[in-house]
């Protein structure tokens, strides 16, 4: 049961992030919600690579019995590469959203998402 705990936390983080995006009124809180969803998905990607009793997947100076006899007891390396890419993409999107919020504040004078609605219907 303890090994399922990260997956439960992933689902909880995604729901908390969605709650922040849908029900909060401040633009900055919406962006924080998107950041929480992204952290949840990254945690999911790392967790699915875990193998029980595994070590870090680096061959240099690995414990002797791991490198030669049982390479299968290393943690999967591919999801870690996917997570790094996703973190970098998340940083770029976050920077773009925050600069847009700065410009929007200069034009509209408010950060309430219910008042930034010039383009409706």
């Amino acid at each position: 049961m303890i090994y399922n705990l990260p997956f439960i936390i992933v689902v909880a983080m995604i729901f908390i992030g969605l709650f922040a995006v849908i029900f909060k009124r401040n633009l900055v809180k919406i962006v924080i919600g998107i950041s929480i969803i992204e952290s949840g998905v990254n945690l999911f990607l790392i967790t699915l690579g875990y193998r029980e009793g595994g070590v870090v997947p680096i061959f240099t100076s690995a414990p002797a019995d791991v490198a030669e006899n049982a390479p299968g007891s290393m943690v999967l390396p591919v999801p870690q590469a996917l997570t790094l890419t996703s973190i970098v993409i998340g940083v770029a999107v976050l920077a773009l959203m925050l600069s847009l919020i700065m410009h929007i504040y200069r034009h509209y004078g408010t950060l309430d998402v219910r008042k930034i609605r010039r383009l409706k219907e």
Partner: protein
């Protein structure tokens, strides 16, 4: 090998690399002169177009072509006999060739149009850089055979198109539209990444062909299918997740909207690939014994048909009451996406049809379901060309009169004769009038959906008539009517924009007069390649039947 075969062998990678290199070199080149920058851009795009022509000719005559990044084989033979793919693979079949053909036409005409349209603006070197990155990401989305690669290109197109929508930072509405676009797009892309993680955890592979080879329909696969289809349909503009589309298409500069249409169609291509190739084995193996006739008869097909009908109706009804020119055309674009999804839904839902005798019999993908898929794929290129032409005309009117609201225009046909003629042709093409290209694809959709259920075809025909009504309203209020005194000085738009619009009109008329040329040589092979997922798989994993 001679040089021609070497270029053909490397062309999938070069098609993505050349616009990327151009995008990064453009800030350096534009320090010299403006004309040198324009010339450099159009030369590099022509080189990309030449490579696409070579690749297309090779794929149409020789079959699927794969390109492995890093050289070597597509699979690695382990000592235990297991064949494992290890590298990122670009896999190009005729459906991919069709989509990159559409993208490069839209890109070349968009860049020629924006030479004249954006000539007086500031910050143009950054504009062209980001446009080339957008073209790179769209071409990459349509060429790749690897799911995580698709996600990376999807995110690149999301970031660059957000930056381009907010190009006019002095207006508040552009920033608002860009913010809404990036909020919804990044959440959709994160759900796509989540589904990707689910599939990787199940099958230990990221390659589309490898996953398609070993897919079963367990609970995790069902969850991944729902997440992927919801995210990709949101990026394509299916109602009720379409609301970012009128905002962003209406507030971006019109030459950007033209290239954004290509990016939207690339996400639509992703939905095609997920449904027909990735889950092709699942949808093909619905058998009669597992059908519960009350609940499960072709559920996914009928859900897509229902969403497509709602899309068509909401798009057309909302387009009728708009007052802003570009927003109205954007709602018409939403309705056209509904037609494409209607073809997909009819193809999926017609495998087992329940006749009134009470027994469900196997229709087994007869005539009308393949006509529906052909009509849907042909409608992709027709939709891009027609809606693109209307956006270019809207841009021409904005350039000449600085007005976007239909309430303040009138009597422009006296001053802008060529633009009026182009708008008339665009109007007739979008609403499906013979002999233009909209009629050919819509006729195929009407005939095939009528045989599944007549009500669907009736709603589609009525929506086409209402589209004609919408654009006749625009034509009347913008071009007809008495001459307004404030438009006395309005001249025709510069020649670059007229050349771009004229090129699209020529393509529309050719596709309308000779529809069989396109269908036999491009659309039918694309539909065949899409539904023969076994050929797609056997190019990567040799030895699979």
């Amino acid at each position: 090998m001679n040089w021609f075969e070497t270029i053909t062998m490397h062309s999938p990678a070069l098609i993505v690399a050349v616009p990327l290199l151009t995008g990064f070199l453009l800030p350096l080149v534009s320090r010299i002169n403006d004309t040198v920058r324009n010339l450099f851009a159009i030369i590099m795009l022509s080189i990309t177009g030449f490579l696409i022509a070579i690749l297309g000719y090779d794929v149409l005559t020789n079959g699927i072509r794969t390109y492995v990044f890093g050289g070597g084989n597509t699979v690695v033979n382990l000592p235990s006999g297991l064949m494992f793919h290890v590298r990122i693979i670009f896999e190009v079949d005729v459906m991919n060739v069709f989509m990159i053909f559409i993208t490069i036409i839209l890109a070349i005409i968009g860049i020629i149009y924006s030479f004249s349209f954006m000539k007086k603006e500031d910050g143009l070197d950054k504009y062209y850089t980001i446009v080339f990155l957008l073209i790179t990401s769209t071409l990459g989305m349509e060429l790749t055979g690897d799911l995580f690669n698709f996600f990376v290109f999807l995110e690149i197109s999301c970031i660059t198109s957000c930056a381009l929508i907010a190009f006019w930072v002095h207006k508040g509405e552009s920033l608002e539209a860009a913010f809404k676009y990036i909020v919804v797009s990044s959440i959709g892309a994160l759900f796509f990444l989540f589904a990707l993680g689910l599939l990787y955890a199940q099958y230990n592979a990221l390659n589309m062909a490898t996953i398609a080879n070993s897919i079963q329909f367990s609970i995790i696969d069902q969850a991944a299918l729902v997440l992927m289809i919801a995210a990709l349909a949101m990026k394509a503009g299916l109602v009720p997740m379409h609301m970012w589309l009128p905002d962003s298409y209406g507030e971006a500069p019109p030459s950007i909207t033209f290239i954004l249409i290509a990016a939207t169609q690339a996400s639509l291509y992703g939905a095609f690939r997920v449904i027909f190739t990735l889950y092709g084995n699942v949808f093909n193996s619905i058998n009669l014994a597992s059908l519960n006739l009350v609940l499960t008869t072709n559920t996914m097909g009928w859900i897509i048909i229902a969403l497509a009908i709602i899309t068509i109706l909401v798009g057309v009804f909302m387009a009728l009451i708009q007052t802003d020119f570009k927003r109205l055309i954007a709602f018409a674009a939403v309705a056209e996406i509904g037609y494409i999804f209607l073809g997909i839904g009819v193809r999926l839902a017609s495998k087992y049809v329940q006749y009134t005798g009470g027994n469900a019999t196997a229709v087994a993908f007869t005539e009308y379901s393949s006509i529906a898929l052909n009509g849907s794929i042909f409608h992709i290129i027709n939709d891009c060309l027609d809606i693109g032409l209307l956006f270019l005309v809207a841009g021409a009117i904005y350039y000449a009169t600085k007005e976007t609201s239909l309430d303040k225009m009138g009597g422009l046909a006296r001053n802008m004769k060529y633009t009026t003629i182009f708008f008339i042709i665009g109007l007739l093409a979008v609403s499906g009038m013979p002999p233009l290209n909209g009629f050919a694809s819509k006729l195929m959709l009407y005939e095939s959906t009528f045989q599944l259920n007549p009500i669907i075809a009736i709603i589609a025909v009525l929506a086409s008539i209402m589209l004609l009504a919408v654009f006749v309203k625009v034509f009347y209020s913008a071009f007809m009517g008495p001459e307004q005194p404030k438009f006395k000085e309005v001249k025709e738009v510069p020649r670059g924009m007229l050349v771009a619009m004229g090129a699209i009109v020529v393509i529309i008329i050719i596709f309308g007069l000779f529809p069989n040329l396109v269908i036999n040589n491009l659309v039918q092979p694309a539909a065949n390649a899409l539904t023969n997922y076994t050929t797609y798989i056997s190019k990567v994993i040799p030895g699979v039947i």
